[in-house]
Amino acid sequence: MPSKSHLDPLEDVMAGVALGLSQGGVPTKAGWAEAAGLYVHVPLCRSKCRYCGFYSVPVAGRDTGRLVAGLLRELDRCDGVGFSTAYIGGGSPTALPADQLIGLVRRIHERCPGVEEFTVECNPGQVGLGLLEGLRRAGVNRLSFGAQSFRAAELQRLGRGHCVEDITRSVELARWAGFGSVGLDLIFAIPGSTLADWQCSMESALDLNVQHVSAYSLSFEAGTAFEALRDAGRLRAVDEELDRAMYEWAVARLQRAGFEQYEISNFAEPGFECRHNLGYWANRPFLGIGPGAASSWCGNRTLNDPDIERYLTAVESGSEVPGEVQPVSSDDMICETAVLNLRMRAGIDLAEFERRTGHDAMRTFAEPIQRYRALGLIEVTDRAVRLTAQARPIADTVLCDFAALE
């Protein structure tokens, strides 16, 4: 068993402080003086899951070393940017050979000494003790496992490449490797599943003593096998009532287990919230590197070209990474901030909102706030505006009224 001190996430923070690294505001080349997130996208998977709409390609036959080198070349350009959180996601980062993934982490950690939370997404069954210990030593202090379900039939239906035992073993290995902050992703409302199936998955997840659970209602994403099957009438989305029942049961069960629902789909033991993701919902800037990675930086939202070959050619030749750049108007920024903030349990922090957008949220969104308050869907304190528990399952019907100014 690892020592107690290894389970304490504060240890890493303290280590950073001891090294004299800045904690909150980080000076950057863009003159951005606040905590920024770094996201690294590994667009590779061993196989494609049937519900997944994220961009990824098969790892087989890929020169993964070249990709990792490319990612680092792109990161080189962000020299001088201070990041407080890092997140390697995908795709499947663990589809990379262990030494390459560890090497990637080490280089990022060297380059971004201000990172206080460093998460790597892992596929159950794709991690060994060697990899996990290597990641830990290289600077990772948080793991997120794409468990999805503890029902074998559901895993098969989803097209996942792992089995239930893989999840259990992987989480145990993570603990052996010294990780004190481990999260599991779970999916509910899988076509054909029952409330009992969902309860079983959740209980199994809680049995593993993880610190963080993300519970996602399955959505039919564009271009996925699931979408095609549904449109062909061969797969039926679960009934809205059942979806709601599953969600409400999970919220109650996790609360009993000591987890706080800090975002629509995210639950954590106090202190174990994913700070990187909180950055998204606070609408703080972040840089994404890798093919298909998104960034929000200096008033633009950008999306790298997802084509690996074009991406690598560009970074290797030292030219600009191709992709889409979308300037965010000040109106859009106000709305994005409101919508993203409202997904959090904490809601819109009025002072923080005004500092970030220059606008008074209570005045800018007076009409929807008033209307939804009357309907018991929004609550207002002297410091914040947030969704009520009743509003969360139907949040989009409320949030759409914050998505554009009149």
């Binding site: 997130g37 996201y39 996602y216 209602s217 399955l218 959505s219 809205e240 009532e241 979806d243 709601r244 969600y247 629509i264 789909s265 993701n277 998204y280 919902w281 972040f286 994404g288 990675a293 998104a294 960034s295 929000s296 939202r301 999306l303 979308q326 859009d332 709305c335 994005e336 919508v339 993203l340 997904r343 209307r371 009357a374 309907l375 869907l377 509003a391 969360r392 399952p393 139907i394 949040a395 989009d396 019907t397 409320v398 949030l399 759409c400 009224d401 914050f402 998505a403 554009a404 009149e406």
Partner: protein, 602 residues
């Protein structure tokens, strides 16, 4: 043309036709043959007018064109009085006809007589005009001029051999028709010695010159600088300009008996001029005014509310502009408890309403929510007074009402024999009483119904089109109000009565209508964050209920950095969808829901 034309050589006539039967083409051809315009101008004419409109904000309807024509060595003045606006407008057709001694009734050689042809023919007959039958498009492969001639003889009593067979497109037969206009149509009566009387048969507003009156001088004459009096309005003006349309406005010094032209006299707004009024000399007024027209009766009413209350002033300005050039459209402010501030608008009929609707959308970018069109009712109250109401919401307490009278129309439907059954069933289900059936030919039949206007006001036309595969045509004319066993259906949305959804219907089918109606509403009103009960009440008693279920789950599961742009677009669209809805309490009711109450289909 110098001096006054010999009255014997003036011909005033109109062309009346079903839409697309070639009225405008024939008019263009006549203008060309008489040298009024060149062939090139004929093509450009419409465009030019539009350019002028755009550039100077002027609309000049060339609706009364003066042509010169030589026939048998004699110079004739032919005044073609076009029917402005849409040919469907009885009122406009009839007021044009009143200024004429003759009419050309144009029928398409392949389509035969249509309901509108008939309606127009009746109007022409009533106005005392001499009618010439004209069969157009005889050059088309599908033309059946003999058959059409027989229909004309059978239905209108014009001898088939007297019909003119022409092709307005190629010009074939148009010269002969012009000759017939000179030979067969009567000249105006010579009343040049009598006091001046001129009929205002149309008017137009020009931003720079004020109102332009289109007039037909019936007796005496009009001169520039003459002081005139509008006999109906009792107001006096001085003529600043007189002229004729050739086809552009050309000033003249004088308009004599029988002549047609325009009068400008510093009249500011269309509201100051009643079309149908008589102009007379202010110093020597005529003892009696000419028989004008019955003012157009608004038969169809509908409420327009701005989608957003802040747009109320814009909507008001838009209506002001529309009313400026359409005296038969009216609007009054309306404050509905459920829908807020809006306007109750009156229209001559459904087509008129559609035209206003279209112009509102095209020319003024205002989001509006419109309520289902309703007809006007006449109430006989217990105290003996008679009251007109334009909306079910104005209906007083039942105990005060002796009887409710609804408008009836003479409805004519012309269709093919294979759709007779379907059309008769539909008509019967809408309380229409068959008055007469007439076979126009072995394959075409004409029905004459007595119909309650309320029953045909919404989807009836679409339905007969559907039943007859697009063949049937219909037309109707108001005949009078008649008492009926009518009741009011009230709709409660989330326990709140919504007047804009109320209907007055016949008791015999009130309950069935009410039940069907809330099923329609249930489908038309989107789900909300809460459950919405819909209830139907007749005479204060709730007879049916439907429930719109609440949203149970509608939330994006994953929203991280890379999802923001796409998700914001989706949410914006979701919000956009709520825009064309009207808030009633906390319920958002879309435009379609207000219309759906009149949809009687299953």
């Amino acid at each position: 043309m110098t001096g006054l034309m010999d009255i014997q050589h003036i011909r005033n006539f109109s062309i009346v036709a079903h839409i697309d039967h070639g009225k405008s083409t024939l008019a263009d051809r006549m203008l060309e043959l008489t040298g009024t315009i060149t062939a090139r101008q004929a093509k450009d004419q419409i465009l030019d007018t539009m350019d002028i409109e755009r550039e100077r904000g002027i609309t000049i309807k060339a609706s009364a064109v003066t042509m010169e024509y030589e026939h048998d060595g004699q110079a004739y003045m032919l005044n073609l009085i076009d029917t402005p606006g849409h040919v469907d407008f009885h009122y406009e057709v009839s007021r044009a006809l009143t200024a004429c001694e003759g009419a050309l009734l144009v029928v398409d050689a392949s389509q035969g007589i249509q309901a509108q042809t008939l309606a127009n023919a009746y109007l022409a007959t009533e106005s005392g005009a001499e009618i010439l039958g004209v069969i157009n498009k005889v050059d088309l492969p599908a033309a059946q001029p003999d058959l059409v001639a027989e229909e004309i003889e059978h239905v209108l009593g014009i001898r088939k051999n007297d019909c003119f067979r022409i092709s307005a497109k190629t010009g074939m037969g148009v010269k002969e028709l012009l000759a017939a206009v000179c030979e067969l149509l009567p000249p105006p009566a010579d009343r040049s010695g009598e006091p001046t009387r001129a009929l205002i048969f149309d008017s137009q507003h020009d931003d720079y010159r004020g109102v332009i009156c289109y007039v037909r001088v019936v007796s005496g004459s009009l001169k520039v600088r003459q002081k005139i009096q509008l006999m109906g309005a009792g107001s006096a003006y001085q003529i600043t300009e007189l002229g004729k349309f050739r086809p552009d406005m050309r000033p003249v010094e004088q308009l004599g008996t029988g002549e047609v032209g325009y009068v400008i006299a510093n009249i500011r707004t269309l509201g100051d001029v009643q079309v149908g009024d008589t102009i007379t000399d202010d110093a020597r007024p005529a003892p009696d005014a000419l028989q004008g027209y019955k003012p157009p009766m608004q038969m169809v009413f509908s409420d327009f509310y701005p989608g957003n209350n802040t747009e109320y002033p814009r909507l008001r300005a838009a209506f002001d502009r529309l009313a400026l050039n359409d005296a038969s459209f009216s609007f009054v402010p309306q404050n509905s408890q459920a829908l807020g501030f809006g306007f109750r608008c009156g229209f001559l009929g459904l087509l008129h309403m559609e035209i206003i609707q279209e112009r509102l959308e095209r020319e003024n970018d205002v989001d509006v929510v419109q309520t289902a069109p309703t007809v006007s009712y006449e109430l006989l109250l217990r105290d003996g007074t008679v009251k007109r109401i334009d909306s079910p919401s104005e209906l007083p307490d039942r105990t005060l009402i002796e009887e409710i009278r609804e408008p009836f129309v003479r409805l004519e439907i012309i269709t093919t024999t294979d759709s007779i059954g379907g059309i008769m069933n539909l008509a019967e289900s809408r309380r229409c009483k068959l008055v007469k059936t007439d076979y126009l030919s072995p394959t075409r039949v004409m029905f004459d119904y007595k119909a309650p206007l309320a029953e045909i006001v919404y989807d009836f036309y679409d339905m007969i089109k559907g039943i007859s595969h697009g063949y049937a045509t219909m037309d109707y004319e108001f005949t009078g109000f008649e008492a009926g066993d009518l009741v009011k259906i009230d709709i409660l949305v989330n326990h709140t009565p919504v007047e804009a959804l109320s209907l007055i219907v016949h008791r015999s089918n009130a309950e069935a209508r009410g039940r069907k109606l809330i099923v329609k509403l249930r489908r038309a009103i989107p789900r909300h964050q809460f459950e919405i009960p819909l209830q139907v009440a007749i005479g204060g008693k709730i007879i049916a209920r439907e429930t719109i279920k609440a949203y149970r789950k509608d939330v994006t599961a994953k929203l991280y950095g890379g999802d923001v742009t796409r998700k914001m677009k989706v949410l914006k669209r979701q919000k956009e969808g709520k825009k064309r809805m009207k808030s009633v309490g906390s319920v958002q009711i879309p435009q379609e829901a207000f219309m759906s109450i009149l949809d009687t289909s299953d």
